[in-house]
Structures are given as structure tokens and as C-alpha cells.
Symmetry: C3
Subunit: 364 residues, 3 copies
């Protein structure tokens, strides 16, 4: 399991210094590193910790003096987190899904399993489903009828892939995610209280009318592009007529909710517990911080960045940075927050002004 | 799989025009429709798309001229989304759960399985459980001891139904939902920091006392009425002594959290990622937008409508429309939001006034 | 299944009065109690309900006159909720996981199963995993390679325990929870829009540059201390290099999201749908109300209490009580909320002042 400093540096495209044939077996924080571990000291604040640990080799930021730090070898990483990506990829022992098809898996005779695919215990694969080459499906996952999983995809334990869902190559899906549940789409025979609330912006009181909800069925499916990642227990609903779509390279974190008909572009980052209501369209390279919320039927432009817990109720132009609830431009929101903290004090000032101006006025 | 225009219109209770014996095999958006698909052009903005697709028949809103649109046949739907419910129901091929009891299912000998029920691979059904007639239970679901599932219910893959949970007829539960987890209810032997915070509204600093949490066990269960729907990965906790209850016809979306002892009325719509803390009571026909939050032990009246991300900390009278955090009446909140956006500017005005009035006062 | 009043009082360390050898078979709310049930009337508002039910014995708060209430026996509980913990523990029939190892479980030959452990149907236990004595693992759970589960732990149906995760004694994990998914950690080769947004606080518009996300793999694991409880469908990610850690006695509710590298102290209470981004450190005895959100890389001191839906973007000193988004001290926030509700009115006052002061000034 060992790698030499030279091998690791080569894998990173980084510079190796000192005893480059030194072998390490893993990565560690500087203070906890053993003599056979490569210490991660790319950030200056960790340099002092090196002497508390026993590392003989470390990854350092540009400009660090490895010899003065008492190291025998070093790798120089000008962009630390990018180096960390390479280092952790090199050291990852993989998801631990055993090769081959487990004897307990229930695979429909009409399903096609790609060469080298691994299928874990109690996996269920439906009629007409296709599993890509070298894909790995962990225990208890279920793959619906006519669903397609790309090459080299990793589907973790207990993931639910609905019927006709299409998943690209190299997709990672964390445990418990549900891809292709039915959309949440209901209609009343007559106008409902919520339709009236939207029309009047809440100005009229809702009458206590009887209303029962009729289901709009989801005939569409879900399409995930290549290199998509989906977090644990995230739920993506199928579309009503067309498909719900997630573009190539987009990453979703845990417990994210994506409603029916939503279309998300390429290379987005959707953080934990974000929710998007149905039929919203999100551009490319959009970054939504944790717990952001998006209304239904809105359009978010390319390169939008929203801080955590931003609630977006209307269309957003490309390149906009957002914060707050309701969302406004980040710098405007920072000013609003400052003003809100001063608000109780300013209220008193206004009272004093009111007294001074209007009382005096009355005395004139 | 084909249906004639006449058959579809009859199923919808709608008017059929033109070549009513034309047969279609599915639904499509107008621009993508093939010659054998029924185009959905109920909204005026989609009418122009008809000429981009190849549809020979379409569903149109009231007043559209089907002949001028180059169609051979049309169905007229005065309430488009309600028509969509009927159309998608007619075209839905169903959840794809094979008939019969799969050989791998583990079913306790004391469980009773209704006539026509379908039980998927690796399903576990506990002691004394009852499954209704024509219910369909998909792969990997588990049904606890003495739980009861109604007739025609659909329990999707990986759903967890706890012991003694009772579920009505025609209920739909999406994958990964957990019905009947234990309530989150803990108590410290002495007053906890959170009890003190509630008593003082946070005015006193919490002392760094030792406190460890003792579990209040959940002896109650969960009862879901008829025609309830539950979204993917939603969690509904059992009650402490009595049951957590969801009334007939109420629909819950994905990733919703319902605490112990909560009681929800009939025909409510609870959107994605809504959370309700324990012992809260929600009336009939309540609509909660995505990511709404409800405190524990509050009462929400009938016909309340809350916009997305509304956080409700106190009782709400019937018919109220709410928005914001903390929730206030929707129209009041709209005024507050407008004022907040003007706040940084108004702060400057107040400063100018202060200078003008009080400086002048000092000079008098 | 019956217990005498005397036995129950002894288990609670409480006082028994009257016919202490009266036997009861369960607990009930006063209005619904049958003659063989112990009515829970610790709160004064429930005393009147006793006459609507048929209870012969009740648990009462200090100072209640059991004989005047028509009871034959009573237990006096000075701290009602603490008594409820004892009462419900005594009456709980347990999670209903059958003893022994089910024939369908797939257990790696190298795994070690403790004495008295119960393993349910279709459970998968990986290479080198260890299950503690008397632990109970319910149907469809999966335990990864080299994971360790403590003694007397209860792992409910469909829980996913990743490779190398370590779980303490007496831990409860509700259905569908995922312990040890991969962290959500990605980096672009060049500076991303989100890095730029953080640097500029959103003042510069993000250019529409190409960016694709490279995965930082999670080599660390998750460690849960003793007496931890985890709610249904909660997700806890593994650390990048070190472990994500949850201290002894800490309780997490349903649908909670804990990012990679987070460290939570002892005896915390983390309510439903709380989310914490990566690398945040939370002290001991912290209480976070439902739907709270925490930014990445912040430090929350001991004994912090945050009201529901509080969004915390920066470090918090010990003992602080917080409310709002962005979080401020609870009493300050109460003042801000009051001021916000008056804001539209105050805006009009400011306009009137502006007119009075500056118009008059112009006329002088």
C-alpha cells in the first residue's frame, strides 16, 4: 500500500524535494502524523504542528522551507485544496463493493449487466434495466425497470433508482438517495385556497371551502449527466411529462430536495438540505449554499452564487451573488443586516425626533 | 397502449372535437410531440410550439381554435391542471410492482395478506401485520409487527413502517420514507439550559451545568388516513402515549419531518422539507410551502396558507395567510420586506434629520 | 404485562399513595384511560379530564389531591417529564427485533458478532466488522467493512453504516440514517466563483468562466460516542483525513445533515432538519432548535442554545442564546423583530419628519 514521495508528486503534477524515494502509507494531520505518514501542512497554521507529530515528509504550500522544518522530504503544492483532491484520490481504498454479482441479487432476466460490474447482496434490478461496464452497485440498492446506469458509476447501499431513470458515466450516488420518486403535484377540481392566495398576495382571507387534492401523475423520468454526484438521502422527483434533468459535473449534497421538472445545468454545487420546488430552471456553474430554498417555476441564471439559507422567490440574472430571505444582492443584504441590528436604537431616535419636531411645531 | 381522443375526453369529462377516433399512445409537450402523441397545449404560451412538433391532436384551453392550429382533433379542457391530472392518470403505466408474493419476501406466519396484494423482493412483514387487498409493497420495504396497511395502498421501495402503524386505503408512500420512528423527546433530571432559555427568553446566560438527556420512550404509533401521500425520505415519528395522526387526503412531499404527537387534519398540502416539532396541531386544508418550520405545541387553524420558508413560532387563527420568519400576515410581511430594502437609505435620512434637528436645537 | 402502582413508583423513585397493589397494563391520557391504565395527569390542565376517562390510578404533580379526584391510587411526580421518561421506559415493549441471527443475513466470515446480538433479515455485515454484545440490528441494515458497533446498540431497519465507522455502547439509530457517506468536498483547478464571492463579499460579479469540480475523497470515518441517538434519515458524512465525531450522550433528530470533519461535543440536542456544513466544531450541551443552519469552519461554544431556524454564520461564545438569521443574541433579536413589525409605520414617520424639517428649512 506504500507510495514514494516521487510517485505521489508525479500523480499531483507537483514538485518533490529531498528524499523522494521515501515511502508513505497514508495521510495525516501534522500533529497526529506517524513516521510513515505524509503530513498535510499546506496551510501555514499547520506548520508549527509538524514538530508535534512524527512525520518525515509533508505536503507544503509554496515558499515553505522544508529543511528548516526538520523534514526529510516534501511535496510543494501551490493550490492546497487541489492537491488534497489528488492526494486523497491516490490514497482512497474505494467504496469496498466486492467484485462480481452476489448470489442473493435478484436480477431480471432481461436486464443487461456490463462487463466488470459489481452487484452487491440483495440488490434488485428490474426488467430491461442496463448497468454500465465496471459500475458498482452496493447492497440493498434497487434499480427500476428500464433504468440505465452508466459506466464506472458507484451506487451506494440502499439507493432507489426509479423506472426509466437514466444515469451517466462515473456518477456517485451516496446511500439512501431516491432518484425518481413521483412529483408532488396536485390539483383541486375548483380553485384552491393556495391559488387564491397567489392571486391576491394574501390580502383576502381564505374561505373554509372543501377541497380535495387530485394527483397529477409523473410520466416523465430523471436524467443525471456524467460525473454527477448525489448525496445521502437526497430526493429527486421525476418530471410530469418531460424529465427532471441534472447536467454533467453537477454535485448535490445530502438531503437535497429537487422537485419535478426541475432542470439544473452543468458543474453546479448544490449544498446540504437545499430544496427546489417544481419546474425551476438553474443555469450552469451555480453554487447554492446549505439550506437554500427555490420557489417553483423560476429561472436562475448561470454563475449565480447564493450564501447559505438564501431563499429565492423570483428569477435571478446570471452572475448575481445572493443572500438572505427573501434573496437580494449579497452586498445589499450585508447593508440591510447592519441596518437591522441598529434598528431598535434608530427607532428611539425617530421617536425623539418626532417629539422634538412635531411637539415644537405645535408650540409655535 | 393506444387511446382514442374520444376515450380520453370521456375519461376527463371534456369535449372532443374533430377526428375523435384518432389514436394516441402518450402525452408530450407541443414542441416535442410526435404524430402519435397528444400535445399538452392548455396554456396559451404553448400554442405557438404546436407547429414545431408533429402532433395531430392536442388538449387546448377554452377558446382555442383547433382547426386554425392545423390539428386533426382536439380536447377542450377549461381547467388545464385538472385535465392534466386525468390525462396523466390515464397514461400512467403504474409503479411496476410485479403481481404476487416474491419468493424472497420474509413474511411472518401470523401476518395476513389481502387478496391480490403484491409483495416485492426482500420485503419483510412482521408478526401480526395486515396488508390490504390489492396493496402493492415494493422491494426492501419493511412492515413492523401489528402494522396495518389499507386496501390499494402503494408502498414503494425501502419504506420503513414501524410496529403498530396504521395506514389507510389508497395511500401512496414514496421510497425511503420512515413512518413510525421514535419521537425526539428527552428530559434532564434537573432543569436544562433550554428550559431556562425558554423561561427567560434568552436574557440570562446559560450556566455550564452538567446535563445528560434521558429518553422519553414512544409508546404511541402513527395513523395515516385514507388517500394520504408521503414523499421520499420523509420521516414521521410515533407519539409518546397517543398517536401521531395525519388526516384523510393530506399529502406530504419529500424530506418532511413530522415530530411526535403531531396531528394534521384532512386535505392539507405539506411541501418539501417542511418540519414540524412535536405535539403541534394543524387544521384541515392547510397549505405549507417548502421549508416551512413549525414550533412544538402550537395550533394552526383550518385553511391557513404559508408561503415557502415561513417559520411559525406561535398559534395561527383559521384562514390566515402567512409569510416570513417569524411568520406574520402575508400582506404585512410584503410591506416589511419593502421597508427592509429601503432601510439602509432611511438610516441615512434619520442621521441627517438627527443632525439637522438636534444640532440646530443646540445652537438655538 | 401488568405492573403494580408500587412497582412503578419504585422504578421512578416516586411516592405511591392509596391502593398501591393495584395493577395497570399501560399508560393513557386521562380522558381516554381505561380502568386498567395509569392516567398521566401530571399537568394541572389534565386533572379535569380524569372524570371523562375510567382510570382508577394516575400519576399526578406535587400537591394534587388524589382522593378528591376519585382515584384509588396515585403516584406523585414532582418533575413530570422526567417521570414520563421512567414510565415510558418501564412500559416500552422494545424495538421488536427478534433474537438470534436471521438465516437470510449475509455476514462476512471475518466479522465478529457479540454474545446475545440479534441480526435481522437481509442484514449485510462486512469484512472485519464487529457487533457488540446484545446489540440489535434490524432488517435491511448494512454495516461496512471494519465498522464497530458497541454493546446494547439498536440499529433500526435500513440504516447504512459505512466502512470503519465506530459506534459506542447503547447507541440508538432510527431507520434510514446514513452514517459515513462521503463528504461534500470539491475543488476547481483554478479559483472558483464561490471562492471569489467569499473574498469579495459578493461585490464583484462572477465571470462566466468554465469550472469543473474535482472530488476530495473522504479517507476519514465517523465516530459516535456512547449513548448517542440518531434520527430517521439523518446523514453524517465521514471526515477527509481525521474523523467526524459526535460526543457521548448527544442526540440528533430526524433529517439532520452533519458535514465532513464536524466535531460535536457531549450531551447536545440537535433537533430536526438542522444542518452543519463541514469542519465546524460544536461544544458540549449545545441545543440547536429545528432547522438551524451552521456555516462551515466555525466554532460554537459550550452551552449555546439556538431557537428554531437560527442560521449561524460565525463563531459563537459559550453560553450564548441565539435567534434569527443571521443569528444574534436572543434578546437582541426579539427587539429587532418588534422593530421590524413597526418598520412600515416608522418609515412613514421618517417621511413626515423629512418633509417637516427639510421643507421648513427651505422655506426659512
Amino acid at each position: 500500500m506504500g507510495h514514494t514521495i516521487e510517485q505521489i508528486a508525479a500523480a499531483l503534477g507537483a514538485e518533490a524535494l529531498g528524499a523522494v524515494d521515501l515511502e508513505v502509507t497514508g495521510l495525516a494531520e501534522p500533529a497526529r502524523a506517524g513516521p510513515d505518514q505524509l503530513a498535510l501542512a499546506m496551510s501555514e497554521k499547520f506548520l508549527a504542528d509538524l514538530s508535534n507529530g512524527a512525520a518525515r515528509a509533508a505536503v507544503l504550500g509554496a515558499g515553505s522551507d522544508w529543511q528548516a522544518l526538520g523534514l526529510k522530504a516534501a511535496i510543494i503544492a501551490p493550490r492546497p485544496r487541489y492537491a488534497l483532491a489528488g492526494l486523497t484520490a491516490a490514497m482512497d481504498r474505494g467504496p469496498g463493493i466486492a467484485a462480481g454479482v452476489h448470489a442473493t441479487a435478484v436480477i431480471d432476466a432481461s436486464a443487461r449487466i456490463g462487463a466488470g460490474a459489481a452487484i452487491g447482496p440483495f440488490v434488485v434490478i428490474g426488467r430491461g434495466a442496463r448497468i454500465g461496464a465496471n459500475a458498482r452497485i452496493d447492497a440493498h440498492a434497487s434499480i427500476g425497470a428500464e433504468a440505465a446506469i452508466g459506466d464506472d458509476a458507484v451506487i451506494h447501499a440502499g439507493v432507489r433508482i426509479g423506472a426509466r431513470v437514466r444515469i451517466g458515466d462515473r456518477v456517485f450516488i451516496q446511500p439512501g438517495a431516491v432518484i425518481g420518486g413521483d412529483g408532488f403535484s396536485f390539483v383541486t377540481p375548483e380553485k384552491s385556497t393556495v391559488e387564491r392566495a397567489r392571486e391576491t398576495l394574501g390580502k383576502a382571507a381564505a374561505p373554509a371551502a372543501s377541497q380535495s387534492w387530485t394527483r397529477i401523475h409523473s410520466l416523465g423520468s430523471v436524467v443525471l449527466g456524467d460525473d454527477v454526484e448525489i448525496g445521502a438521502n437526497t430526493a429527486i422527483d421525476r418530471g410530469t411529462i418531460a424529465n427532471t434533468e441534472i447536467g454533467d459535473g453537477t454535485k448535490l449534497d445530502n438531503l437535497v430536495h429537487i422537485g419535478h421538472n426541475v432542470r439544473i445545468g452543468r458543474d453546479c454545487l448544490i449544498c446540504g438540505q437545499v430544496g427546489s420546488a417544481g419546474s425551476t430552471v438553474i443555469g450552469d456553474r451555480v453554487v447554492l449554499g446549505g439550506q437554500c430554498g427555490l420557489s417553483d417555476n423560476i429561472v436562475i441564471g448561470d454563475d449565480v452564487v447564493a450564501a447559505g439559507a438564501t431563499k429565492i422567490f423570483s428569477n435571478v440574472p446570471s452572475g448575481r451573488m445572493l443572500m438572505g430571505s427573501p434573496a437580494v444582492k449579497m452586498d445589499t443584504q450585508v447593508e440591510i443586516y447592519k441596518a437591522m441590528r441598529r434598528l431598535p436604537r434608530v427607532m428611539k431616535t425617530v421617536e425623539a425626533l418626532q417629539k422634538a419636531v412635531f411637539n415644537r411645531g405645535q408650540n409655535d
